[in-house]
Amino acid sequence: MNIVFKSVVLLLLTTFLNSAYSGPNIFEFETEVTVASWLFPESPLYKGQKDNNYSIALESEVYTEWDEGGSFVFTPFILLDSNDDNRSHLDIREALYSWYGDDWESSLGIGQVFWGVTESKNLVDVINQFDVVYDPLLKTKLGQPLTNLTLIRDSGYYELFILPYFRERTSPGKKGRLRGDPEFSKGGAKFEGGSQWTPELAIRWSNSFNDYDLSVHSFFGYSRAPSIDVMIVDAQLKYEQNYQRVRQIGGTFQKTSEATLYKMEWLAKDGQKDANFRRGGYFSTVFGFEHTLYKAIGEAGDLGFLMEYNFDSRRSRSNDSLQDDVFMAFRLTLNDTDDTQMLLGSILDLDGDGQIHQIDFGKRLNDSLTFGIKGAIYQNGKYNSNIYILRQDSWVEINLKQYF
């Protein structure tokens, strides 16, 4: 982390030197503060766990841009949690220097990259690690040190990424909910090859053809999802996160057809250990559609219906809960002055391993304040499955976000 810190300082210094030289023509500074409360209706299962918790998160963004085709963005993030020390953390979401011309772009620093098209899960998003403790619905990512070159040609967008450092997944501590028992020990993760400083490589092509958007990528590096090693240390059961080096190819497809979007993501991966801690190859995919009925609610409200199927060829040996599951959801977009939006969804396991029901609601209270409700219900998980482990941890988050 020390080296990451030094790189950031170096980047900041370069930026200010650069700005002193040419003078940025845009300089912006913004801050958002989120106050949130997590409520758990059921009492905790494991020793040390607390009931409800409260948190405050602060994210600032500094952005500068030069006429010659360059920009720098710096986005530090800090979360303080009332119970869980592991949940309280600092992250640099972005510290990215970018240069660009007519048909290319290059960047260096810490960045965020989104490649997915589907809604229940984004298999292909491999550049960043998820910030699970902040956002169990897996929409928020940790900043990833990277260098990137993108070439824009008639035949498509060609992207190359070199990732010098691997970020391990955040996980709850002893006092935190949404974990197994015992919790993962802090600093106990193991990385194949020994060091998080083992470079990773990703290449990607993407393009649009009329109604079709396509992409293909290849990745060589650490699996973003850990495999869990079960050990007995001093007659005590221990779980340890292990990250293996993997090779994968994957892609996305979307057809936009009037009010219906057809979407697919797929992945073929080799090198990761499964739930039985055996190494092997597997194939995994998410596909489905989203259909919107415009102006179906009130004066201008849209009602969307989403359905996606998640498949993983490892089935019960998969370390992903969504391996033979159907995702169904309603999306309400009221198109009102408050931008009221809600996603109500359910994940139904076809092998009988339980259901997850999710809610994500948001609206604006005034020009600089928003209100949100998020939550998940975990029920009917098979003995020892991920959903079973979370059976007492159904949660609801209520948050207020103030923009400065």
């Binding site: 993108t150 109604d211 979007l261 102006k295 201008a300 408050d338 604006r364 923009y403």
Partner: protein, 267 residues
């Protein structure tokens, strides 16, 4: 090329017109001719950049403000390319859309969500939907292509609110089934082809909204731009005003300023 086609079209229509004057031009032919003439006055703008403020007002008079900027590039032989960027309120700051308008068939549209860094291909089928909760529908603000409507001239009348000037009253009928309108009735001044007022009729042919254009300024001795747009919804009593605070023509934008990569950089 685009101009050439339009000019040819213009001459052909003029030619047909000269013949039909002898035999009498139908209201539909006159409507189309006027629409083409009006469209030609906007040709050759190459590109524009503008900043706008939108005021949404409900029936009780409560207001909320939106700020956005847009960039548009004229494309030969097809509809324009444009980028919309939101600045205010702060929770939508940085949200942007990229649209490739097509003369025929659906437009291509992508949405950029800055919090997720996600570029999402979206359906352009929602043309009748409310733009950011305002009284403007997406189709009211998108690039107006001749081919998207059929036309009919009604009569020549004094311009609304400006009795000295002479306007032609004409109707246009959307070709796309997804449009929220059966017809639009427009008052356009004969001298400069500036739209002064539009009445929007819903699918049941009931008067839904009225849009009034004012504060016209001319740029580069050619292009007239209205700086104030007032939309009133007769059903709900809600109003939306757009005030264009800044407009620039021919700023040197390139095709490369309108792709998915530049959408992510749009500020």
């Amino acid at each position: 090329m685009k101009n050439l086609i339009k000019i040819t079209l213009f001459f052909i229509t003029t030619f047909i017109f000269s013949i039909s004057v002898a035999f009498g031009e139908t209201p539909e032919e006159k409507g189309l001719r006027l629409a083409i003439e009006a469209d030609l006055t906007g040709d050759g703008f190459i590109d524009t950049v503008s900043k706008s403020q939108m005021t949404l007002r409900n029936a009780q008079g409560e207001e909320s403000i939106r700020e956005f900027s847009s960039k548009t590039l004229e494309v030969e032989n097809d509809g324009d390319k444009s980028i919309f960027i939101f600045h205010h309120p702060k929770d939508v700051k940085g949200t942007a859309t990229l649209t490739f308008t097509h003369k025929t068939g659906p437009d291509d549209q992508w949405l950029y969500l800055p919090a997720l860094k996600r570029v999402k291909r979206i359906s352009s089928d929602n043309r009748s939907g409310a733009f950011v909760g305002s009284e403007f529908a997406y189709e009211d603000l998108s690039s107006q292509e001749i081919e998207k409507y059929t036309y009919k001239w009604i009569e020549d009348v004094p311009c609304p609110g400006d009795e000295q000037a002479k306007c032609y009253l004409s109707e246009s009928y959307p070709v796309e089934k997804s449009s929220g309108y059966k017809r639009r009735v427009s008052w356009v001044d004969i001298d400069e082809h500036r739209v002064r007022k539009i009445d929007f009729y819903d699918r049941k042919d009931k008067l839904l909204k009225t849009l009034v254009f004012s504060d016209y300024k001319q740029y580069l001795n050619k292009f007239w731009t209205a700086h104030t747009l007032k939309m009133v919804n007769h059903n709900t009593g809600k109003e939306t005003d757009i005030s264009i605070t800044e407009t620039k023509y021919q700023t040197g934008l390139k095709d490369s300023d309108f792709n998915r990569q530049s959408l992510k950089r749009a500020r």
